[in-house]
C-alpha cells in the first residue's frame, strides 16, 4: 500500500512547492489534489497549468494519488435544478480530464445530498442516472469514479449493503466507492464496509472518529489516527482479506493549532504502522 495526503492539508499561505516538499519529507508517496479547494487547482486552471502541477509533483518525488473535489457540496448531482446538475456533471468531467493529465486513475465524487427539501428517492434516482452516463466516459479515460461515503453529512447510502445496491444499479466497472473509514460513525463498522465492497474500493480515506465525545456527548468528532474509536486492527485485517493494496489517503479534519507541519509527520508514521500491521 502507498500513502498519500490531500493538498488541502497544506497550511494556508504556503506555496504548492513548499507543501510538496513537506509531503515528501514526511514520507508520503503521493498527494491527493482537491479540485476547487486550493488556488493552484481550480476549474478554470488550464490543461497546461495542470501539466505544470504534475511536473512539480514529480519533481518533488511524488505522484498524484487521485483527484478529489468538494465542489459537489454546492453543486450536487442530485440537485433539482437541471442547471445545477449540469454544472455538477461538468465538475466530474473536469475531474476525469485532469486525472488523465495528472497521471492518476481515480477521482472522488460526493454523489448525492439528501436534505429536508430534496428527498432520498429523488437523490438516489438522479445519482444513479448521472453515474450511469458518466461511467462510459470514465472507462474510456481509464479512470474510476469513487463515490465517497459521507454518511452523516450526505444522509445518503447509510449502510454498506445499501451502497452496494446503489453501485449494482449504476452497474459500471468504472464506478466504485471511495471509502472513508472515518465517516461511518454509528452507522456501522469500517471493516464490514471493506469486506462488502472489496474490489470496488477505488481509494481509502483514513482518519479516526471519536464517537459521542462532542460537546454534549451526543456528537462524533474526527481526530487523528489511533485516537478514536475505529477498530484499526480489524480495518487492517479486512484490507488484507479483500486484497486491498491501493492508496491510503490521509484526510485529517482536525488540524494542529501549532506546528501544523508536525501533523504530516505524525500521520505518516501512524499510516506506516497501519500498513505494517503493527497495531
Amino acid at each position: 500500500m502507498k500513502k498519500s495526503i490531500g493538498d488541502n492539508m497544506i497550511p494556508k499561505g504556503w506555496r504548492f512547492e513548499r507543501g510538496l516538499d513537506l509531503v515528501k519529507q514526511a514520507g508520503y508517496d503521493g498527494i491527493e489534489l482537491w479540485l476547487g479547494d486550493m488556488p493552484w487547482f481550480q476549474l478554470a486552471t488550464s490543461d497546461a497549468d495542470v501539466r505544470e502541477l504534475r511536473r512539480k509533483v514529480e519533481n518533488a518525488g511524488l505522484v498524484v494519488s487521485n483527484v478529489s473535489t468538494g465542489l459537489h457540496w454546492a453543486s450536487p448531482l442530485s440537485a433539482r435544478d437541471p442547471t445545477v446538475r449540469a454544472q455538477a456533471m461538468r465538475i466530474v468531467d473536469r475531474q476525469l480530464e485532469t486525472a488523465q493529465l495528472l497521471g492518476t486513475d481515480a477521482v472522488l465524487v460526493v454523489a448525492g445530498l439528501v436534505t429536508e427539501e430534496v428527498p432520498y428517492n429523488e437523490v438516489y434516482r438522479r445519482c444513479v442516472d448521472a453515474l450511469r452516463s458518466l461511467g462510459p466516459s470514465a472507462g474510456r479515460a481509464g479512470v474510476r469514479i469513487g463515490c465517497e461515503n459521507c454518511n452523516a453529512e450526505q444522509r445518503f447510502l447509510l449502510s454498506p449493503r445499501e451502497f452496494k445496491q446503489f453501485l449494482d444499479d449504476v452497474n459500471s466497472p468504472a464506478v466504485g466507492i471511495h471509502l472513508d473509514v472515518g465517516n461511518i460513525h454509528d452507522t456501522g463498522f469500517a471493516e464490514q464496509w471493506i469486506e462488502i465492497h472489496g474490489p470496488r474500493i477505488t481509494r481509502i480515506h483514513v482518519k479516526d472518529v471519536l464517537k459521542h465525545r462532542g460537546r454534549c456527548g451526543d456528537q462524533s468528532v474526527y481526530t487523528n489516527l489511533f485516537l478514536g474509536d475505529n477498530n484499526w486492527p480489524a480495518i487492517r485485517a479486512a484490507m488484507t482479506k479483500v486484497g486491498y493494496d491501493g492508496w491510503l489517503v490521509a484526510e485529517m479534519e482536525a488540524r494542529y493549532r501549532y506546528a501544523p507541519d508536525q501533523q504530516f509527520h505524525d500521520t505518516a508514521k501512524a499510516m506506516d504502522r497501519l500498513i505494517s500491521g503493527q497495531l
Binding site: 433539482r80 437541471p82 429536508e116 427539501e117 430534496v118 428527498p119 428517492n121 429523488e122 438516489y124 434516482r125 438522479r126
Partner: protein, 181 residues
C-alpha cells in the same frame, strides 16, 4: 412564457368555437414532449413511466413542465371531451424554507405529494382550486367545453419519476376518472 394563464384560458375557450380541424384522432393518452421548452426532462420521464400502461376512459393529454402552451393540442383534446394536464415549467415562487414538504391535493382524491421546491401560484375561483401549499393555491381544474383542464403550478412529474406513491395515486385517480370529472 409569453402567455399568461388567463390569456390561455380565454384562447382555449375561443378555440372551441372554431370549426373542427381535420386532424388525426389523438391516442387515448398522449404525453407531449415540448423539447427544449420542457423545463424538467425528468418530469416528462415521470409521466411516461406512470402512464405507460394507462387506459383512460376519455382522452388524456399531459404537457409536462411546459415553458410554452401548445394551445391547438389542448383545444383538440378538450374538444373531444378529454382531460388536459398542463404542468407549469416556469416556477417563480420558492416554498423553502418551510415546515412540511408537501402539497395538499383535495381532488380527485385527498392526498399529500412532495413539493418540488418552487411553484407557480394559481389564480382561480375557490371551487376550482384542487391543491395548495401553505395556503397558496397551486393547482386548479376547470371545465372547458366538453373537457377538463387541470393546471398544475406544482410539478408532479419529478415525484412520479422518483416513485412517489401518492403522486401515482393522484394521477391514477385523474386518469381513471374514479372520482368523476
Amino acid at each position: 412564457m409569453p402567455i399568461t394563464r388567463r390569456e390561455f384560458l380565454g384562447g382555449a375557450t375561443a378555440a372551441l368555437m372554431l370549426p373542427r380541424l381535420g386532424t388525426a384522432a389523438p391516442s387515448r393518452c398522449t404525453i407531449l414532449d415540448l423539447g427544449d421548452r420542457c423545463a424538467l426532462r425528468e418530469s416528462l420521464a415521470g409521466y411516461r413511466a406512470a402512464l405507460a400502461t394507462a387506459q383512460p376512459r376519455a382522452p388524456i393529454l399531459v404537457i409536462p413542465s411546459a415553458l410554452d402552451i401548445p394551445t391547438l393540442s389542448i383545444y383538440r383534446c378538450l374538444w373531444r371531451g378529454g382531460t388536459v394536464i398542463l404542468e407549469a415549467g416556469e416556477l417563480p415562487l420558492s416554498l423553502w424554507p418551510r415546515r412540511t414538504p408537501y402539497v395538499d391535493f383535495t381532488w380527485p382524491i385527498a392526498t399529500k405529494v412532495r413539493d418540488f421546491s418552487r411553484v407557480a401560484p394559481v389564480r382561480a375561483h375557490r371551487d376550482e382550486i384542487v391543491a395548495d401549499a401553505d395556503g397558496i393555491p397551486v393547482a386548479s381544474r376547470r371545465r372547458i367545453g366538453l373537457g377538463t383542464l387541470i393546471y398544475l403550478g406544482t410539478p408532479l412529474g419529478p415525484a412520479l419519476w422518483a416513485g412517489d406513491t401518492e403522486a401515482k395515486q393522484w394521477l391514477s385517480a385523474v386518469v381513471t376518472g374514479a372520482c368523476g370529472l
